[in-house]
């Protein structure tokens, strides 16, 4: 047969039709259709899942581990859900005394911090310029040897005292280990971040003569008068306060608690309050005294308490026969509703009505500490608010303010210092805390950086643990200058935060979900509590417990320093320190004193008079002699915002957002995602301005503007908000990071860089509440 054209066509058509029929009668089509569907739905996305590398989240045995969250000083109990060896979810621990099952937004996002790319992968040594982000990964031996070499050299030169240490807290064994190290090494310059709690502790010391932290019996209070405290934003222990808020809202309408928020801006707390009284920023102290005026004038105060347990309410004469003015006289003459109305901008009728309602409530409670309480504030203002609590007799009473003793003993052996340590430790502190000028203050962190920037050589080395001073300290530019003058910065941070970014050596600590540690009573809690952090997962990176790192350094330094740390490792130290509490802690995760009640009025006050002192005689005892009687009394001493009113017509106040962490821990991506579209747009931050003010400055919604303060200038977006006082600009704290990574860095403006430090005359701590500013259209 010849294969001609026709045959060829016949063959190929025949074959093709046959082939097609054959394939159609085989399962190829429907099988491939099914497989392609699965491929597109299942397999293709798998390859898109970045880090998953084609692996979907694996199933496994589910376990739960109880621990404590330390992302803020709130100390909530957490339960971590694990699948196999992966931690998959953080939930509030049911039954935990602080939060009973609830969790805050930051705590819920904790796993993003654990597994995030912002973790420091292992010990790092700076390779390039400071802050350039060039690192060399070194071994732990090498890293520790380097720290030891530098520290030993400084000590050898007789410069032990030029080593400073900055901590985020002074609670618990790890901060105490650092304190011990500094003492054995020979430097007095142990610092920690200061907060409103410091000022309240100082106030309790002055007016009640006790060394105590403040505890609020929020759950039982039924009239809460908050002087700008961001109760909802994350003040104290956030979940606990929000829970208390729900208790206030739960009772039937008659017994429902009343919440009054005094604040220039309609914050979440103000929005949830029954009444919101915006007053001129910085005049909270004046308002407290105005309320005191009405309460005293109308005899609405607790007569028993005032008569029998206070000192300095009425005019009197002291032991030396010198006459002094009483609180009553001062308040009645100087803080009439009319005068206070002029200062605060709140009408006198509102002042009078508020005072009456407060004093007549069954469990009134005045709460102090602006925003999240991250800024120390004014001592006299705190005293004025505390005096209100005293007037209604709620000191150490149900629903009142409790002085909760600070537990500091850990039963460790005394540190024996060698001559170098003794000399160095005896040198004056760089920050002037505890000196004649500021005898009552323990540490003034802002001053340390001022000293470092003014005096090169003052700080030769800085150790930073659980703090991010490079980011959180006000007047960021001054801090940056200070860092340039500190030749050796060591960070113990788990995250690549700003301080770590500008360090010379990073000795990364285990993340809080990877380590053992004790967590003493959370801020603001009225009852003592000890929680235990336990490793939920194995360390994810080449990290080391800061306690162990520090002890290794101490041992390498040798001599008395090594002798000060006789423990084998941190875990051993913790067990030994917690001694008889350890078994309970290991089993249940916490030890609480549920039945704790503060001492009765008869035994409560350690002041010279043995009473609650409106007239603070302790000032004389510590050598702080005041020129006038008023200096001994709670009074209104305005903290003037920096800047010339003519050049800077507006006032900038930092605002706290619940969904934005503004402390040493950067905001995780989940939380940043929840920010409103009127808070952040792209990488630009919104500032809040009243529409009236905006109109005066020719600004409209969503417009770019230049925000200028005496400290810094920033480009911002304008959000018109009826909930902010005219003349005031609100800027959220917590953005403007340069550390961490692209999920946070470069977004918005760091409010701290626009603010400056205004020192409080009594504590020397930062009393800043705002700064003068100018907003101009771009």
């Amino acid at each position: 047969m010849k294969l001609d054209r026709r045959t060829f066509i016949e063959l190929s058509v025949g074959f093709s039709v046959g082939a097609g029929t054959g394939i159609l009668l085989s399962p190829v089509n429907w099988k491939l259709m099914d497989d392609m569907t699965i491929w597109s739905q299942e397999l293709w996305p798998r390859y898109q899942l970045g880090g998953l590398k084609g692996q979907l989240p694996q199933r496994g045995e589910v376990t739960h581990v109880d621990s404590v969250c330390t992302l803020c000083p709130g100390g909530c109990g957490i339960t971590v859900r694990k699948v196999g060896d992966r931690a998959t979810k953080i939930e509030g621990r049911a039954g935990y005394p602080v939060n009973d099952g609830g969790i805050c937004i930051l705590g819920a996002a904790g796993l993003q911090l654990l597994y995030g790319p912002w973790r420091v992968p292992g010990p790092l040594r700076r390779a390039g310029q400071r802050g350039a982000g060039q690192w060399e990964q070194v071994s732990w031996e090498e890293a520790i040897a380097e720290a030891v070499k530098k520290l030993a050299a400084l000590r050898g030169e007789g410069n032990a005292h030029t080593v400073a240490c900055m901590l985020g807290s002074d609670r618990g064994t790890v901060p105490q280990l650092f304190a011990r190290f500094m003492k054995a090494f020979g430097s007095p310059n142990l610092m920690r971040t200061a907060t409103a709690e410091d000022t309240y502790e100082l106030t309790l010391g002055l007016m009640q003569g006790v060394t105590s932290s403040v505890g609020y019996d929020l759950e039982r209070a039924n009239f809460i008068l908050s002087f700008g405290s961001g109760l909802i934003e994350g003040w104290g222990s956030p979940v606990r306060v929000i829970k208390a808020h729900s208790i206030w809202r739960s009772a039937n309408v008659k017994e429902r608690a009343t919440v009054v928020q005094i604040e220039p801006r309609l914050s979440n707390t103000a929005a949830k309050a029954d009444r919101w009284y915006p007053i001129n920023p910085g005049t909270e102290g004046a308002l407290a005294l105005g309320l005191a005026h009405v309460i005293i004038k109308e005899s609405l105060y607790d007569d028993n308490f005032i008569r029998n347990h206070t000192f300095g309410f009425e005019n009197g004469t002291d032991a030396t026969g010198k006459g002094y003015m009483g609180f009553k006289r001062l308040v009645l003459t100087k803080y009439t509703p009319e005068a206070v109305s002029r200062m605060t901008g709140l009408s006198s009728s509102k002042i009078i009505n508020l005072a009456r309602a407060f004093a007549r409530a069954k469990y009134p409670l005045a709460v102090w500490g602006r925003g999240k309480g991250t800024m120390p504030g004014s001592v006299y203002e705190c005293m004025a608010v505390h005096a209100l609590n005293a007037l209604v007799g709620n000191i150490n009473r149900p629903g009142g303010v409790w002085a909760r003793p600070k537990v500091a003993t850990q039963g460790w052996p005394e540190v024996s210092q060698d001559a170098t340590a003794w000399t160095g430790y005896g040198m004056p502190r760089l920050d002037g805390a505890g000196t004649k000028r500021y005898p009552l203050t323990g540490h003034r962190p802002e001053r340390l950086f001022q000293m470092a920037s003014e005096k090169p050589g003052a700080v030769e080395a800085l150790l930073v643990h659980e703090a991010d001073p490079y980011y959180t300290t006000l007047d960021s530019q001054a801090v940056a200058r200070a860092f340039e003058n500190i030749p050796f910065v060591v960070s113990f941070s788990s995250y690549m935060d700003e301080t770590a970014h500008h360090a010379d050596l990073i000795l990364p600590n285990h993340h809080y979900l990877e380590r053992w540690e004790d967590c003493p009573t959370p801020v603001g809690l009225q009852k003592p509590l000890l929680g235990l952090l336990r490793p939920v997962v194995a360390p994810q990176f080449d990290t080391k417990h800061a306690g162990d790192t520090l002890m290794t350094i101490a041992r390498a330094l040798g001599g008395t320093i090594a002798n000060a740390f006789p423990w084998e490792d941190y875990e051993g130290l913790l067990k030994e320190t917690l001694a008889d509490q350890w078994d309970t802690l290991e089993e249940t995760g916490y030890v609480e004193q549920a039945g704790y009640t503060p001492p009765a009025w008869e035994q409560a006050f350690g002041t010279p008079s043995g009473k609650f002192e409106f007239y603070v005689s302790a000032f004389d005892q510590v050598g702080m002699t005041m020129r006038k009687d008023v200096g001994y009394l709670p009074h209104y001493e305005p903290v003037k915002p920096e800047g010339d009113a003519a050049l800077y017509p507006l006032v900038l106040i930092p605002t706290d957002l619940m969904r934005l962490a503004d402390g040493p821990v950067g905001n995780p991506p989940f939380c940043t995602k929840t920010l409103e579209e009127t808070e952040l747009k792209g990488n630009d931050l919104f500032v809040e301005v009243n529409p009236e003010t905006a109109a005066d400055h020719g600004l409209s919604e969503g417009q770019y503007a230049t925000l200028e303060t005496p400290k810094d200038t920033a480009k911002v977006l304008v959000h018109l908000f009826e909930g902010i006082m005219p003349g005031v600009i609100g800027i959220p704290k917590g953005l403007g990071h340069t550390g961490y990574d692209d999920y946070l860095a470069g977004k918005g403006v760091n409010a701290n860089s626009l603010l400056g430090v205004v020192e409080d005359p009594i504590s020397g701590l930062c009393a800043t509440w705002g700064i003068r500013a100018k907003l101009t259209r771009v």
């Binding site: 001609d4 046959g18 082939a19 097609g20 054959g22 099988k31 699965i38 299942e42 397999l43 045995e61």
Partner: protein
């Protein structure tokens, strides 16, 4: 045949048109008379194409689509069932009601911390996995897609179904069969079933399990329709999506 020869032939044919009419009929495009054997050409071509592609579709295609892997250890289920009893001895329910699935190394170590017999596979287990403390990368025949939620508790505890109803008489096997997976979807062949047409009655019928005892009724495959069919039949309702999906 080259084109020039063809042309030449055609020229000749044109010249001798009248005389060579029979010859012309063979080469001309006119219809072929019925009965001539040449009609068979397209049919044969059709048949060849048909058969070849049936073979491609039914035989070659599955060979291309599926790839096989050997289990890391040739496990003898029969022996273990004899020693330990029911399936639940190793494939147990956890306290939260979840099914443990394939045992972890820890379960094996309970008995095999050291070799208890002399089988080479056991020696391999001890040498390669127990001693270095490495999990055995078992290949799961019945692994469902990630969008599927399957409750063993519902089927075993509540519906009182036998393991073999879905998994086959695995307990009677003394070797592990090769694990086959779909190159496109990466899922086990057991999901679609071993019949490439998906018409299998018992997925395990085709497997070389020795001493397999009789036939056991079960779903033809482990696809969604099979689940749905059984649910509709046994529970008398058409289930919603959020019963088996997650």
């Amino acid at each position: 045949m080259s084109a020039t020869e063809e042309e030449k032939e055609q020229t000749v044919a044109e010249g001798e048109q009248a005389e060579a009419s029979d010859e012309q009929a063979m080469a001309s495009p006119e219809p072929v008379k019925p009965g001539t054997w040449l009609f068979i050409i397209p049919l044969v071509a059709f048949f060849i194409g048909f058969v070849v592609h049936l073979l491609v579709g039914w035989v070659v295609f599955p060979l291309l689509l599926y790839a096989g892997k050997k289990q890391p250890i040739d496990f003898n289920h029969k022996l273990h069932v004899e020693e330990l009893g029911e399936c639940e001895g190793c494939h147990y329910f956890r306290e939260d009601g979840s099914f443990s699935g394939v045992p972890k190394l820890a379960n094996c170590v309970e008995c095999h911390e050291e070799a208890v017999g002399e089988h080479p596979e056991e020696a391999k287990l001890v040498r390669e996995y127990v001693e270095p403390g490495k999990e055995i990368p078992w290949l799961i025949y019945a692994r469902q897609p990630q969008c599927v939620f399957f409750s063993h508790a519902a089927h075993v505890n509540m519906a009182e179904m036998e393991c073999a109803t879905c998994h086959g008489p695995v307990g009677e096997s003394d070797h592990t069969r090769p694990y086959q997976y779909n190159r496109l979807t990466l899922y086990s062949r057991d999901i679609w079933g071993h019949n490439i047409a998906g018409m299998t009655k018992n997925a395990w019928e085709y497997l070389q399990i020795k001493d397999s005892g009789g036939t056991i009724d079960g779903p033809a495959r482990m696809k969604m329709d099979d689940c749905a069919e059984c649910h509709e039949e046994k529970r008398g309702v058409k289930d919603s999506c959020f019963v088996c999906h997650k």
